[in-house]
């Protein structure tokens, strides 16, 4: 957009001001102070964007007449337009836009031409005076700032500065050099605390070595003490030994003198020559040499020390006593023999008498072979019984037969009373015969008797039959019955008789078998047996007595033989047994008793000897037992020079010394135990390993923290580098242009204008050294140059992006030094030459001269003096 002409109808001091044929490049408008430059600039703003509201000093109501307002003719986008602004009662006034034909155009055409540039932007960037130039905020309005600061940021961008701050905060939370509260510092503290625990444990090997050394040293000391202890103990043992041995020693001495008294040499009593020697001479040599083998006093018999006769007695003491014990028996035997012989004679006489009584045919032999035992007797009694039974039966039958006969007779008697007597007679006869045959008649006659009885029976039967026949008439039936009965009975009677006969036969046969006379009845047989038995008894007695005498004689002979054998073994005279045993008994026994007396004497002697020898042996054994390794001889020798009091003192002294040594040893052992326990503890102590592991874990924690810290640090470094790249390479075009302009204006003193990343402020960078500073650090002139450069740049960019707008600058060089003023003027000339119309107002003619001198094509316009 180029302003071709500006016409003011009435605006402030201006009335009918007409600036024609403005140059499309640089126009320098010169006017004195109060010459209306600012009013003119305000007029241009007002035409384009409306009058300021009433009361605003910028409103510039006409002071010298004319209608408030005017118009600007401008060229844009190939067309020519007139913009007319005039007061119409509204605050901002009315605006008309028309083309070069004069045709009115819609009001919004102006906005189109301005590309909707706001009044604010125009005032900030394109139409400014010193006041605006020096104000930073005019560049920080969003619309402007967007061009300056946000270009090149991430798309939509978050908060890069926040990120940087966060990184720093997080990093510093972890670690700061010499910091104490940060996580790393805390972890370091934990590690150093652990290390304090570890350090002493790592000295353990030294302690261990030292303990080993101590152990060895203690061991050596202990060995020394042990040696001393052993010596003291052996002294104590010796003293105690002497004490214990004292009584045995005394016993030994007593036994030795007893032996002497008994005339037994010590050597024979189980002692040895060395013993004897020490007793007598106390030979030192003897003590040293080992004792010769000695008889075993435990098993040898002290009786060996008695005279041979006594020894023989003692040897035979058992036999002697046995035989003496048998003495009453010997006497008994002697008496028994006499009695037995007498008994035998008596029995013999009695036997002879019995044999005579028994008569011929009986001798000792027959007596001996005849059996007279119970069996035989019983047999006889059986025969007697059998006979009696049969006889009794016969009698019974006879009675009943008689009764039957009587009955018959009664029947008969009624006719023949006599017959009663006949019956009676018959019965009596029968009885008499039976009695005779059974009892009175000797067995030899028995057979005859039986016949007689049979005859009697037959007679009787005839009588009966006769009687029966007599009664038949009266009581025929009765008589017949009675007769029958009687007949039957008599038949029975006959059978019985027959049985009796058989028994008799058997009896005879038995007697024969027994070698007895067949004529004997049972009673006689029994009597005979009794007598034989008597004889047998005598015969037996004789035999027994003879045997007793014989047996006792034998025993006596043996016993006497034994006694003699004993005498023989004792080499004593034997008693002749030929003279008669019985006579020899008493002398034998007498000798035996004498032997017993001798034996007892020998035993007494042996006993005494045994006691002394035992005492001697016991004393020696006790002494030997007590002496232990010292040996009995040495002990004895020692004892010879001591007495119990001395020994007691020795014991007490030694005990004290042993106790002292023991206490030292216990102390050392305790120390050694402590050392060993500590050493074992150290060797198994896992605490160091645990702590090392714990430290390692802390280190891992620390490494984690360090790595985290490093992550933040790396991110920070990368961010700073990226920011640097950004600030160098991705500054908005505005800043790039501004840098160029500013460099030109400052003759190369400053190389760059930049907006630090994420900040809405500017910095300049000195070309030399790259030092950066903010505008506040610049001088007034330099800061004005910076802002001018920024505005030029913005205008240039705006021209490119939106629309080129004329730049109206009101006396902006006043604070510039000459050089910068020249440079700036030159720059503005170049800027204008690039198609940016510039209206530079000044009240200084020298500045106008600068412009015209530096910019050959510049149009100088001397503003007229206001009317």
């Amino acid at each position: 957009m180029i302003f071709d002409r500006v016409h003011i109808d009435g605006f402030g001091i201006w009335r009918d001001l007409d600036l024609e044929e403005l140059d499309p490049g640089l126009n320098v408008l010169l006017a004195p102070n109060e010459g209306g430059k600012t009013t003119l600039m305000t007029f241009i703003r007002s035409v384009l964007f409306g009058f300021p509201r009433r009361g605003d000093p910028q409103r510039y109501e006409p002071l010298r007449g004319g209608k408030h307002g005017g118009h600007i003719d401008l060229s844009a986008e190939g067309g020519h337009y007139r913009i007319t602004r005039s007061a119409d009662g509204t605050s901002s006034g009315s605006m008309q836009i028309s083309d070069n034909e004069g045709s009115s155009l819609p009001e919004n055409k102006l906005a189109d031409l301005l590309r909707n540039t706001t009044k604010e932007l125009f005032e900030n960037v394109f139409a400014f005076g010193l006041a605006e130039l020096q104000r930073l905020d005019t560049l920080q309005k969003d619309e402007v700032a967007g061009h300056i600061y946000s270009a090149g940021m991430a798309s939509g961008g978050q908060d890069p500065i926040g990120f940087r701050q966060w990184l720093r905060k997080e990093r510093d939370r972890l670690y700061l050099p010499r910091g104490r509260k940060q996580a790393v510092a805390e972890k370091l503290l934990e590690i150093s605390t652990l290390q304090k625990e570890i350090d002493p444990l790592q000295q353990l090997p030294e302690e261990h070595a030292s303990l080993l050394q101590q152990g060895r040293s203690l061991g050596e000391r202990l060995a020394e003490v042990d040696l001393i202890m052993a010596t003291r103990q052996s002294q104590l043992d010796a003293a105690r030994r002497a004490q214990r041995a004292w009584r045995d020693y005394e016993d030994l001495l007593a036994a030795e003198s007893a032996l002497k008294a008994l005339g037994v040499p010590l050597a024979a009593a189980g002692g040895d020559p060395a013993d004897a020697g020490t007793v007598d001479a106390g030979s030192g040599e003897g003590e040293m040499s080992p004792p010769p083998p000695r008889p075993n006093t435990e098993t040898s018999d002290p009786a060996e020390l008695l005279p041979p006769s006594q020894r023989a007695l003692l040897r035979e003491s058992g036999r002697i006593r046995t035989l003496l014990a048998a003495a009453p028996r010997l006497r008994e035997l002697r008496a028994a023999i006499q009695k037995s012989l007498t008994d035998a004679d008596t029995a013999q006489s009695a036997l002879q008498t019995h044999l005579k009584d028994l008569g011929e045919g009986w001798d000792t032999e027959r007596i001996r072979t005849t059996t007279t035992g119970l069996k035989e007797r019983e047999k006889i009694r059986q025969f007697a019984e059998d006979m009696r039974q049969v006889e009794s039966e016969i009698e019974s039958i006879s009675v009943r037969a008689a009764d039957a006969h009587d009955a018959y007779e009664t029947i008969v008697t009624r006719r023949e009373p006599v017959s009663r007597e006949a019956v009676m007679l018959t019965w009596a006869m029968a009885v008499a015969f039976t009695f005779i045959s059974a009892v009175v008649v000797p067995p030899v006659a028995r057979l005859v008797t039986t016949s007689a009885v049979g005859a009697i029976g037959a007679m009787t039967g005839i009588i009966v039959m006769w009687l029966r026949h007599r009664g038949r008439q009266q009581m025929r039936d009765e008589r017949l019955a009675a007769a029958d009965r009687e007949t039957t009975l008599w038949a029975q009677h006959e059978d019985a008789q027959k049985s009796f006969g058989e028994i008799e036969d058997k009896w005879q046969a038995w007697l024969t078998s027994q070698g007895l006379d067949t004529g004997l009845g049972t009673d006689g047989a029994l009597d005979l047996l009794d007598r034989i038995r008597e004889a047998q008894e005598q015969e037996r007695r004789h035999g027994e007595s003879s045997a007793s005498a014989e047996k006792a004689t034998g025993e006596l002979t043996v016993a006497c033989g034994r006694v003699n054998a004993l005498f023989e073994s004792l080499r004593r005279d034997q008693i002749s047994l030929q003279a008669g045993l019985q006579e020899a008994v008493e002398p034998l026994l007498g000798e035996l008793e004498a032997l017993q007396a001798e034996l007892e004497a020998a035993e007494d002697q042996g006993m005494r000897l045994r006691t002394v020898v035992d005492q001697y042996a016991q004393a020696r054994a006790a002494l030997r037992a007590v002496s232990g390794e010292e040996g009995p001889e040495a002990l004895r020798t020692r004892l010879e020079d001591l007495d119990p009091d001395q020994i007691e003192r020795q014991v007490q002294d030694a005990e004290v010394e042993v106790a002292a040594a023991s206490a030292r040893r216990d102390g050392l052992n305790e120390q050694l135990g402590g050392v060993r326990e500590r050493r074992t503890h150290l060797e198994g102590d896992a605490e160091l390993a645990d702590l090392l592991q714990a430290r390692e874990q802390k280190r891992s924690d620390l490494a984690g923290l360090l790595e985290k810290w490093a992550g933040y640090t790396v991110a920070g470094v990368l961010f700073d580098l990226a920011k640097q790249v950004y600030e160098e390479q991705r500054q908005p075009e505005v800043l790039k242009l501004a840098s160029r302009y500013f460099e030109a204006m400052t003759s190369g003193r400053y190389a760059r204008v930049l907006a630090p990343l994420g900040e809405t402020r500017l910095e300049v960078e000195e070309k030399k050294g790259g030092r950066r500073k903010g505008p506040e650090a610049l001088s007034r002139g330099t800061s004005e140059q910076l802002y001018l450069a920024m505005r030029l740049a913005l205008a240039a960019v705006y021209a490119k992006q939106a629309v080129p707008l004329p730049l109206v600058a009101d006396d902006i060089l006043v604070n510039f030094d000459d050089t910068r003023a020249v440079s700036t003027a030159t720059l503005l000339g170049e800027f204008a030459a690039q198609g940016h119309q510039v209206l530079a107002f000044t009240c200084h003619s020298h500045l106008a001269d600068v412009f015209t001198a530096q910019v050959p094509g510049a149009k100088l316009i001397q503003l007229p003096k206001p009317v």
């Binding site: 090392l692 790396v714 470094v717």
Partner: protein, 442 residues
């Protein structure tokens, strides 16, 4: 020749603590504490079971700096076991257990042979017959920078010769270059077997005679020592054939797992992967306690869930409680959960943006590809660094105050802190920048 065998191990680091763990339960702590000793015990047991003739320890048996008495007592106990089994032990001292670091107060069995600072040969015998000559040399100070390999004879004697050396062979920038030597130095010496120590990773540098072998360490001690660890059973046949068999001894095994969340919809999907992985890990060595570092990468729907402030911690606690309680063999302890996921955004596009974030990301990329040179230049192997980008310099200067902080250095002990993992640091920085500077939603 007589067939025989020996066990070769190194870098046992008895009593050394585990590194890099932040929080562990007391049970797990006790288990870890005893792990190097337990691993060594396993090797000793294996040696006894295989009736080896010799037991060779190529340095760094323990960390002398720890001055851990218990560790050395436990070591002594194990050496006594070998002695009682009739096995001779040959020990060289390394940089962690130089000769002065051995406690003189502890007595070792007669069958334990320690090499001195000069190369010496000791016979390995069985029943009075010499099976091999064992040559070895010890570090007499922690930092031996001399080439010790060249001290060994070129023509060793004996029916079989073993060289025992704690050394950094070849170019190994990741290991302190102690007793540095070249492979050629070792190959040119007519040894049958070089028993090396110092490098913790199992590696056979030369498979033909002379066999040159690092058995690795018997127990991994930190996350960079993953996988099975142990010693090597070396069997020499009557024909002279040498065969190597690993004897795994680790009781705690380290693992790294990376899982991409691409396409995952829920935390359950993630737990499924974890479950599957841990099952596989445990199945591989059920007698070990497993320590796992799990890094989640990729992007997708789960990312937003994982980005929530407590998600990582909650997930870690859940997995620990579920898989590693109580701490015992056959369980898995989640050591750390690294969340390296990102929204499904196009990093390249962001990086090409012509704005502050684009500048940031481009600078980050530049830093990633040329990290700052290590502050201690002399440890480098003489490589010339090219002109350093401004970002690297700036970062190095920025972290220097911490790296050089005396308190920090003292606290980190033998293991001075270095920025170990540049890509992770840079990624963290990128992530922060994207969060703060990008306009897009995450």
């Amino acid at each position: 020749m007589q067939p025989f065998s020996f066990l070769h191990c190194a870098d046992v680091h008895l009593g050394a603590p585990f590194r890099g763990l932040t929080s562990v339960s007391p049970e797990l702590g006790a288990h870890l504490r005893d792990a190097p000793a337990a691993a060594f015990t396993r090797l000793v047991t294996a040696a006894v079971e295989h009736q080896v003739a010799g037991f060779i320890i190529a340095g760094d048996l323990f960390d002398a700096a720890d001055r851990n008495l218990r560790a050395q007592i436990k070591l002594r106990d194990q050496l006594v076991r070998l002695h009682e089994a009739g096995i001779s032990t040959f020990v060289t001292a390394g940089n962690h257990d130089p000769m002065g670091g051995w406690l003189s107060s502890i007595r070792y069995p007669d069958s334990v042979h320690f090499f001195g600072p000069e190369v010496t040969a000791l016979p390995l015998q069985r029943d009075g017959e010499t099976l091999a000559n064992v040559y070895g040399v010890s570090f007499n100070r922690p930092e031996v920078k001399d080439n010790l390999a060249v001290e060994f004879p070129v023509e060793p004697e004996g029916p079989f010769s073993i060289g025992v050396l704690h050394a950094s062979v070849g170019d190994r920038s990741e290991h302190a270059p102690y007793a540095p030597c070249s492979l050629q130095d070792l190959q040119s010496r007519r040894f049958d077997y070089w028993a090396l120590g110092h490098v913790h990773k199992r590696e056979t540098l030369h498979g033909e005679r002379p066999i040159i072998h690092y058995p690795g360490n018997p127990q991994g001690l930190h996350i960079n020592e993953t996988g099975p660890r142990g010693g090597t059973l070396v069997e020499v046949a009557s024909t002279g054939t040498i065969s190597l068999t690993p004897i795994w001894s680790d009781v705690v095994r380290w693992h790294r797992l990376r899982t991409s969340i691409d396409g995952m919809e829920s935390v359950d999907d993630l737990l499924g992967v974890f479950n599957q992985t841990t099952s596989a890990i445990v199945g591989e060595a059920s007698e070990c306690l497993h320590i796992l570092r799990w890094t989640l990468t990729g992007g997708g729907p789960l990312h937003a869930e994982l980005r929530r402030p407590d998600t990582g911690r909650d997930l870690t606690e859940t997995l620990r409680a579920e898989y590693a309680s109580p701490a015992e063999p056959g369980t898995v302890w989640l050591e750390r959960l690294d969340l390296a996921t990102r929204a499904a955004r196009n990093m390249r596009a962001l990086r090409e943006q012509q704005d502050l974030l684009g500048d940031f990301l481009r600078l980050a990329e530049e830093l990633r590809s040329s990290p700052p040179a290590p502050p201690d230049h002399e440890i480098g192997t003489g490589k010339l660094f090219g002109p350093e980008p401004e970002s690297s310099t700036a970062v190095r200067e920025a972290v220097a105050m911490l790296l050089e902080d005396r308190r920090v250095r003292a606290a980190m002990g033998d293991d001075p802190w270095t920025i170990a993992d540049w890509p992770r640091l840079v990624a963290a920085a990128e992530s922060l920048a994207i969060k703060w500077l990008s306009s897009g939603e995450e």
